[in-house]
Amino acid sequence: MSSDKPIGINYQEPPVILIEDLHKAFGSNRVLRGFNLKLWAGENLAVMGKSGSGKSVLIKCIIGLMPIDQGRLIVLQRDISETRHHELDLLRTQVGFQFQGSALYDSMTVRENLEFPLRRHLERKIPEPEINSLVHEALEAVGLLYSIDMLPAELSGGMKKRIALARTLIMRPKIILYDEPTSGLDPVTAKEISQLIIEVQQRYNTAAIIITHDLACARIASNRMIILNDGVNYAESSYDELAKMKDTVVQAFFE
């Protein structure tokens, strides 16, 4: 583990995400074949793997967008496969998801995009001034307050990623799932996003699973890494430890 990483990881309490022997197939294509994972509170975990290795499928299973075929998937002490729809909605208030393409609603302004989960998720009616202040705070956290009345079409790729992160943060999640947070960005913006992920971890004390191809992102933003290969966790350690491994599969990611 890098020495400059924040020391806020809580190993005393049960893991916020526990995955045991997870299987997921699409027809004859067995994507996950007994995957295991433990994510501790306050920890950033990067999952790396080849394209089509099931990384995105993994986090879609975690958030309940895809059903699992076999295994145990416990998120914040709740078994996802046994959680009813209403309970799943409540659980999703505590688990943020940042989509690969940002998934901002095209027809809504940045403000409306941020307000959307607040208005929809929470059963209590939030007063307008409180909504306004939460929107401002989330946009300030990602440094894009000036874009509040812009439409997604007017934003650059990096700005969209930041706004999507602000939309996730507005619900004050305990866990954030990042799906390729730096894909399609230039190296400078990608580094900024990676640093933003660390800032979010420190400021909001969140745990995160970061699905990425970007080695630099994994190095900057994660405390621990898992190499996903052939549907299982092939190797698991800190960036520095994995970089030293002689294994050819692991080294293929570092070369």
Binding site: L65, R92, F99, G101, A103, Y105, F116, P117, R120
Partner: protein, 257 residues
């Protein structure tokens, strides 16, 4: 033979899938949460943004039909029948069908492309993780809006078409608007108005459900967005003709009674 069997199988599977989608609409439309705000927004978008096109087409249709028909009626000395004939033709058949076809082109393709694009860019998934049922928010509101707004547009189109026809009669035959419309409504009966009004609800539902089904189930990436819009127009236009055929057959049974 195998190709024919496969095509038939594909058609039946697609019909089954659309029927299941429509059944889900009826299962969910009556139960909360209700998305009234989004429904009103969609009604406004569909009604307001289609009115100019539907109105213009209706006006031209009324003028053209009258101009085309007039010489023949003059030749047979039956020009006095023009208002009632045009009135019945437009209200019973031409107005609703043409309006539905325009809506299939404009609204059906728009809904298909919008939802397919949202699917491709994961906006529908984002909606689901934001605690919103995307089927209720996107599909039910749009299908209900088309079901409610196509009849309104059809009635407006009928009135504009008749006004266009009346304008021709005023210019060519010196018939006043008042006289023209009194002749139109003299021969139009409740039995003409009701079936044509009812069938427009079915047209609207078909346009909405096909557009939403194609968009919501689109799986072929960005390439699929254009294809979805195209398929939504083709299928909903065909459904408009099929529904019209059924409506005419059914209403004919009632006329004979």
């Amino acid at each position: 033979m195998i190709a024919l069997f496969n095509t038939l199988k594909k058609f039946l599977l697609a019909t089954g899938a659309v029927s299941e989608f429509a059944a889900r609409y009826f299962r969910e439309v009556f139960f909360p949460p209700y998305e009234f705000k989004e429904l009103l927004k969609q009604c406004f978008l569909i009604g307001n943004k289609s009115f100019a096109l539907v109105g213009t087409t209706g006006l031209i249709m009324g003028i053209v039909i009258t101009l085309q028909t007039r010489p023949t009626l003059v030749e047979f000395g039956a020009v006095a029948w023009m208002p009632s004939m045009i009135g019945i033709a437009i209200v019973r058949e031409i107005g609703p069908v043409v309006t539905a076809l325009i809506c299939a082109g404009k609204i059906g393709s728009g809904i298909g492309a919008e939802l397919a694009s949202m699917k491709v860019t994961e906006q529908i998934d984002a909606m689901e993780v934001s605690g919103t049922n995307p089927f209720k928010y996107l599909v039910i509101t749009r299908v209900t809006a088309t079901t409610l707004m196509v009849p309104v547009l059809a009635v407006l189109s009928d009135l504009i078409s008749l006004s266009g026809s009346a304008l021709v009669e005023l210019m060519k035959g010196g018939v006043s608007f008042e006289l023209y419309f009194s002749r139109v409504f003299e021969y139009l009966q409740f039995g003409d108005l009701l079936p044509s009004f009812i069938k427009t609800f079915f047209f609207g539902f078909a346009i909405g459900i096909v557009g939403c089904y194609k968009g919501y189930t689109s799986t072929k990436g960005t390439e699929g967005v254009g294809r979805t819009a195209n398929e939504a127009v083709v299928i909903s236009s065909m459904l408009v003709f099929i529904l019209d055929f059924i409506a005419v057959l059914v209403s004919d049974i009632f006329y004979e009674l």
